[in-house]
Symmetry: C2
Subunit: 246 residues, 2 copies
């Protein structure tokens, strides 16, 4: 029980708050355990809570009338759920949330968030930062989808994975299924599979769920240099710092 709250405590929305304040805030939260494939809520449900992921992986997805589903986000501990919905004044959920593996979240009433953003200026600012970042990422993603090839999309995604999960690019195991990754990238699994061949030209090899990113320069020249973010790409900067200079 305690561990879960500790994870939530380090969520960026509490940045700049004192330990005492965090503890006060967290005691209003309710721990919820989710089994693999269990839904936290469904698209259309009434929107009553704000969540912080404590453990596991939560998939945020939307299913359209054809039964096709698209993954909007793959969330990990310290990430928050529904912040933007709540401030965009929705009364029902705009998407569904399901546990990819056994997971834990901490749940707060919608009002808790609204009141505490007023009470603690820091929380409002932290949320602003986090939502602004998400908004920027959404726009960048839209553009990636429009201007980059599928192989480039996947290569970019794999680099992000290494950073987020602290994986060694020279050899790591995918943290979740290719199906989920494809859905996150907005492509079909078949296309994903087929693109793996082309990925080898970039020095990226995938055998089953085992991935090897061979040459950083190749990937940089073929992928990052074609991205409109270019120099300002925080991902690229972090990646170089972490894996090339060490």
């Amino acid at each position: 029980m305690i561990n879960y709250k500790q994870n939530a405590e380090y969520s960026s929305i509490f940045n700049g708050l004192k330990k005492q304040e965090k503890d006060d805030l967290l005691k209003d939260g309710k721990i919820r355990h989710l089994n693999k494939k269990e839904f936290l809520f469904y698209h259309g449900d009434s929107l009553t809570c704000f969540y912080i992921v404590c453990s596991g992986v939560i998939q945020i997805l939307r299913t359209n009338s054809d039964g096709h589903e698209k993954t909007l986000h793959i969330l990990i501990p310290k990430d928050t759920i529904c912040g933007d919905e709540i401030f965009d004044s929705h009364i029902t959920h705009q998407f569904s949330a399901v546990a990819v593996e056994n997971s834990t979240v901490i749940e707060f009433p919608k009002k808790w968030l609204q009141e505490n953003t007023k009470k603690y200026g820091n929380i409002a600012l932290n949320l602003l930062t986090s939502i602004a970042h998400r908004s920027q990422m959404a726009e960048i993603e839209a553009e990636h989808k429009a201007t980059m090839s599928t192989a480039q999309l996947i290569a970019c995604f794999l680099q992000k994975l290494c950073l987020v999960y602290n994986l060694n690019p020279h050899g790591f195991t995918l943290p979740y299924s290719k199906k989920l990754i494809a859905s996150r990238l907005g492509i079909e699994v078949e296309t994903f599979s087929r693109t793996l061949l082309k990925l080898q030209e970039y020095g990226v090899f995938m055998k089953g769920s085992r991935v090897t990113i061979g040459n950083f320069n190749t990937i940089e020249k073929n992928v990052c240099d074609h991205c409109s973010i270019e120099q300002d790409c925080k991902l690229r900067a972090s990646f170089k710092k972490k894996f090339e200079l060490n």
Copy 2:
């Protein structure tokens, strides 16, 4: 001069502030006039200001290495520029901004925004609301692009146009070029032109820049019913309220 500030005054970021407070805030702003096709800033420029559009139309765009440009937003009076960039802690502009027609903006130093979000809780909250909304819209757009046909995308866009510009759907003139619209929708002009034929099946006719949306039920059945937002679509609700019940 005064008129321009009056427009900015009604920007949603000032919601809930007193007239006196707004006036105080606005006096720090500098009016800037832009001629048609004049750039406000370029992608890569250092990020120093926050802007509110006072008159005209501002195109937010990004150009990638191939020389291809994508329009991220088309902004009109009361809209803000760079709020999300500033809170995502960028130090250079992630996109360019150019005047589509003769326009006016009011400009504030970056610090002005940061300090006043701390000073006025309302501004932080309003920005939160506005950025949360933009973030949601970006995700919805990404999904539209993935799941809807080009004809449906255009039809949806035209409906939005009617609402934003208060145009009569039964006969109106496009407020800007098809080239700009195509770029905003992430398609080529040629594809746009060709799709106009298919649009007639939905009861949408376009001759030059003259548009007629004939039948609301047809468009609703063919476009909105296939959208994943469905019932919760604020656009659709507003549209029905405004044009079908009057």
